[in-house]
Symmetry: C2
Subunit: 346 residues, 2 copies
DNA sequence: CACTTCACGCGAACCGGTTCGATGACCGGC
DNA sequence: GCCGGTCATCGAACCGGTTCGCGTGAAGTG
């Protein structure tokens, strides 16, 4: 059931069948019908490997994301889902590679063995050897996230700095003066994860600007860690009245910790941060937060990649998104109106 | 940078390079070193398409899961993650196909074009044309889930009937008499999703056995639907004191609904069901539930598939799992001790 | 020293497509 | 009636590996 078989049964040559299928050269209506008939009858589909070998394109894109280690977050799920769907819409398949660094076996397989035409990278670090490696190879790729030096590369990212700052301003406007920041796990911060770094940065700067008293924490990606983290926060400074988090997996645990400490959200304590919308709506009270538009980001990444594949010489493009804060129910007035930072900060 | 280039530089023939790499025929230590040296120097990796074409194996497995539609559940995420990792451990890549039925373009691409050596199917329906199709083709595949007639096929599944029944017995033992069942969305039930059907079945039978008064509901896969569903439950029968759910995405909404109705969990109302452990621990109070061992299931599915690929004539195997109920904090005593069903049920 | 044995390496064919140059049939124009 | 030009089709080469059968030189044997 290969192209030769089809050609034989249709009484034509292999090349004619190929042209009939691809339309790259004219084929008479008559023979086209004959060929199509045989194909339908036998349910023939051209072999992907042979085709890829011949024309150098696999019609597959690679999706590179770090190994679960322990957990994936809901946001990662949303990215994966949206990338797969957007790719399918453009007739691309998606090959998954659980690689954190460019020396991973899986990463090498995907690229070195030319299994994919291009790649989408997730969980970008500020200094990311995968990004550098691909750039050096001039291998078509798009990052979901933005490294320290994104110039000249393709990416779609979130303005974590601005987002975290927006959360701070929101809380400061409500009169909160002592605010905690709950980051992703320390190991991620240490290895330079973009969102963890830029988020922390934006938080710190904005807090300084508003003269807030802050403490920052790293927290494991699970409910138990979130609960423990919250206990630590209240232990370190019982006067804390609000927190900003990037860690959606810990959110349930943070809430539980607050409940157990007898703090009512939002009456006694405000919670906000940057998380995927559907997770923000799962908790009670629903989280006032900057909703990560994971679906849009995945789709845009695929679109950029396909554009880059179709136009190898196109200049680099990117999208930097800054979704607004969705007001829900987890933030409320703080102890008092904000004071000029010059007074409060000394 | 192909095998011919390596051969030229090492001063040997292409076949010798191939044998040196595969070890399928002896190569002298001397030439092997020469070849390896050239390969290391050039960073050569054999082209996957060419290799697949020549020996008929892609070293890729397909993971078939239904399109997101609106949402993926956390459980699906866990499956995907564990499958990818288990596959990577066995040096297989994973190709994602968002296909619900065998006529999907993506499904056809994967199989018809021979992009994968075998497939893992998720979200099985009782009558599943994908399963039937693959069985008819004798295409190596493993289902995560069990269709109505699983004899002679390979699968790893959860005993949803027993699990739902266990939840009922747990509640009945606590003295609950009026219990609601919150299923996955109606559309899934209608199209014959295994878990929705078998779960409903197990619930209904066990409830009848224990003489409970029950109502069953379908509920969308999101928090808002969960909240609405709970309101409906209390509206239909305010005396309801417990519920069993298969719908982890709705869980947060169910809890919220209870809170807003002034019912305290577990004092006034008990909640249990079948969900992934990490989600059960996210909500407050933590959910007493049968934890879906998604990680184990994904791993086992890959192991089965690889076994089947390595031994094409091996007899069908399967794993039916029945994880125990993890006692957490969401269930408590009902209105009174259970009465003999003969009395209660009339 | 001639004869087998063996280890090693080579060349050619093959996997199933795509693509290029060539060929032949048919057409209209002069 | 011959010529130039289309149009449809064919054959062969190629993509980059794998694999089979065979040849060759060195080592072992009587």
């Amino acid at each position: 059931m290969n192209i030769g078989e089809i050609a034989r049964r249709a009484g034509v040559s292999r090349s004619t069948v190929s042209y009939a299928l691809s339309g790259k050269r004219p084929v008479s209506e008559d023979t086209r019908r004959k060929i199509q008939h045989v194909i339908d009858e036998l349910g023939y589909r051209p072999n992907a490997s042979a085709r890829a070998l011949a024309n150098g394109r696999t019609n597959t894109i690679g999706l590179v994301f770090p190994p679960a280690g322990n957990h994936y977050t809901g946001m990662q799920l949303d990215f994966i889902g949206s990338v797969v769907e957007a790719a399918a819409a453009q007739d691309y398949d998606v090959l998954l590679s659980p690689s954190g660094v460019d020396s991973d076996r899986s990463f090498q397989r995907m690229l070195g063995e030319r299994r994919v035409d291009g790649a989408i990278l997730m969980e970008i670090r500020l200094e990311d050897d995968r990004v550098d490696h691909l750039a050096a190879l001039d291998f078509p790729s798009v990052a979901i996230g933005r490294s320290a030096h994104p110039e000249g590369t393709w990416w779609v990212g979130l303005d974590h700095t601005a987002l975290a700052a927006a959360c701070v301003h929101h809380l400061a406007d409500l009169g909160h003066r002592r605010v905690a920041f709950v980051n992703r796990p320390e190991q991620l911060l240490r290895t330079g994860y973009e969102s963890a770094h830029r988020g922390l940065d934006g938080f710190t700067k904005a807090a300084a600007e508003r003269g807030l008293t802050v403490r920052t924490y790293c927290c494991g990606d699970d409910a138990a860690s979130g609960q423990a983290c919250l206990e630590q926060i209240l232990h370190d400074d019982p006067a804390t009245t609000a927190l900003v988090t990037l860690n959606e997996a810990a959110l349930g645990g943070l809430y539980r910790g607050l409940t157990q400490a007898g703090r009512h959200v939002p009456r006694d304590f405000s919670v906000t941060g940057v998380v995927a919308g559907r997770w923000a709506e799962t908790v009670t009270p629903q989280l006032t937060a900057a909703d990560v538009p994971a679906e849009e980001m995945g789709r845009r990444a695929v679109d950029l990649l396909v554009e880059r594949l179709d136009h190898p010489d196109a200049p680099p493009r990117h999208h930097l998104l800054t979704p607004p804060i969705s007001l829900r129910a987890s933030t409320g007035p703080g102890p008092g109106p904000g004071l000029p930072s010059s007074i409060e900060s000394r």
